[in-house]
Subunit: 332 residues, 2 copies
């Protein structure tokens, strides 16, 4: 049958553009015994994918030019010769950026039956939500009464960090890039919000928002945000380093903060993490998050683009601050 | 009686100079009941003292202009009205930079009787040695078979880090600033030495010296050393941040490394520490180090300046790379 997929046409230099992507037509063979056919319903675009567009050694292999891209997706089984994957099953895979795929079941997860829209398994119940939970619980070990600072706080990860932070009993300070996003964060119940684009001096604004200092910084941005956080960390503060989106599109090396000596002065602990290494804790996370969602304690905001052909725009939009909550693409 | 002391005359801007210090004469009153008089025999100069010359909030109060400096010292009790501190006792204090002092015993430690020169309680058996041991054991948790990189490796801390690293079964790569120091490190048994001043490209030299990557980096320098280490850390590597001497005399902010995203890519753990917070483990350290010294397994190198009046030169010499091993001043 005929399918559609988005391929990497060229490696972006700096900010990705539409020219770096191509919508290609292809075909897939009829399924064989043990296989099944999935029609993708939703696919995820995430900042980490920018790193995979660079040809370098990292924790995950780089995308190849002329090949289909990959990423989280939710689909429905529409043909099956595998009894474990019956027609109508909703499945989660890392085979996004395409309309259909054939699988033998390897690395495919059947979604549970829940009243929650299956698209949230790409967001608050998926990789971004699990990233937020892992960074706070397993890396930074946030405790009640502490002050948490989170950057890129309106994003898929940040917005969940802010909400889990509140649920864990922390005072939460959030940084975002627009007044509209600031209002969104306020609606989520955070204690102080900084619009880093209009606040003037981020360092001073953070000092004002966290006058007694920061116990935990959930780092999504890097650069000026890291520098300001270092200045306002408390002694023995912890920094969970999830991302540095400010640098993902840099074409030349951008110097780091000049105040790294704060690491010594304040005896800070800084730890980078990749959520996939913590995936054995997913059931624990999912049970907790499922309960929070059922109780209405976590808001699962999404920004939805429609159509596979608009997936590149959705991806580029991540770096233009166009999403509030999780950015997803609805395929069918 | 008349005494001599070194006072801070002015706060250094950039590299300290002799003009920042003044040798002053003073007097102290006769001892009262419960007190004793100590004649200092040795005093320590250490890089961390540069930080105390800046008027800022830190883990230790800044030095005050016109007041005597402070730091580790070893002295002998020469008068006593305190039965716990008998005449002839050797004592360790934080009351260096002066010829004599009177004490009631608070924060004064009587040294054990050992065949080891008492000056080593300022070095390999004192704060620098304990710093090396703490960073490797309690912060980075180095294990046998791992690769350890240490910068400023000929210094009071670095030379002990290199030796403990070998005793713990690690492969040790050391960075120093002269060929003579490189020979010294080779004599200590390290596996590879880099002279960062002559190697050309430090990053390439480190890659050559540690082709399979670094498990633990003991950070004493900052700047280019940190950048190179980040590039060559293994996944899940640990960086124990003890000092950043390259920046202590900066008069303007020096940008940090541009490759901090390696913290995420390699899931690194970076931790700053101050040895004083770990002092409850001193007995464990001292027992181990005392044994190593007795067995000739650790070499306790010293660079000795003579006379209190030369203490400022000794201190300035730390930043000019004039010491090999521990820099101490012999007072009497």
């Amino acid at each position: 049958m005929n399918i559609q997929e988005i391929q990497l046409k060229s490696r972006p230099e700096g900010m990705p553009t539409a020219d770096n992507f191509v919508l290609a037509k292809g075909s897939i063979s009829p399924i064989k015994q043990g296989e099944f056919l999935v029609k993708n319903l939703w696919m995820s675009v995430d900042p980490y994918m920018r790193g995979r567009m660079i040809d370098r050694k990292s924790y995950i292999a780089p995308f190849q030019i002329g090949k289909v891209l990959e990423g989280g997706a939710i689909g429905e089984v529409i043909e099956s010769l595998n009894p474990a994957f019956s027609i109508g099953s909703k499945v989660s895979s890392m085979l996004g950026w395409r309309s259909h795929f054939v699988s033998d079941g390897a690395e495919i997860t059947i979604l549970p039956n829940t009243p929650i829209s299956e698209s949230h398994f790409l967001g608050v119940l998926g990789m971004p939500g699990m990233t937020a939970w892992t960074g706070l619980n397993r890396i930074a070990q946030l405790t009640a009464g502490e002050t948490l600072f989170v950057s890129a706080a309106s994003g898929a990860v940040g917005s969940v960090v802010a909400q889990i932070g509140k649920l864990m009993g922390a005072r939460v300070v959030a940084s975002v890039g627009s007044d509209e996003k600031a209002q969104y964060l306020t609606s989520l119940g955070v204690d102080a919000v900084i619009n880093y684009k209009t606040c003037g001096d981020l360092d001073a604004a953070l000092g004002h928002a966290a006058p007694e200092g920061i116990d935990v910084y959930f780092e999504n941005v890097g650069g000026e945000h890291l520098s300001a956080a270092l200045n306002h960390m408390k002694d023995h503060g912890r920094i969970a380093v999830c991302g540095m989106i400010a640098q993902y599109n840099d074409t030349a090396p951008t110097p780091g903060p000049s105040n790294l000596a704060q690491i010594i002065i304040k005896k800070l602990k800084i730890e980078g993490f990749i959520v996939f290494e913590h995936w054995d804790h997913y059931p624990q996370f999912a049970a907790q998050m499922g309960q929070w969602l059922a109780e209405g304690k976590v808001q699962a905001e999404q920004t939805i683009y429609e159509g596979l052909e608009n997936a590149p725009d959705a991806f580029i939009g991540l770096f233009e601050g166009k999403n509030r909550g999780k950015m997803v693409v609805k395929l069918a």
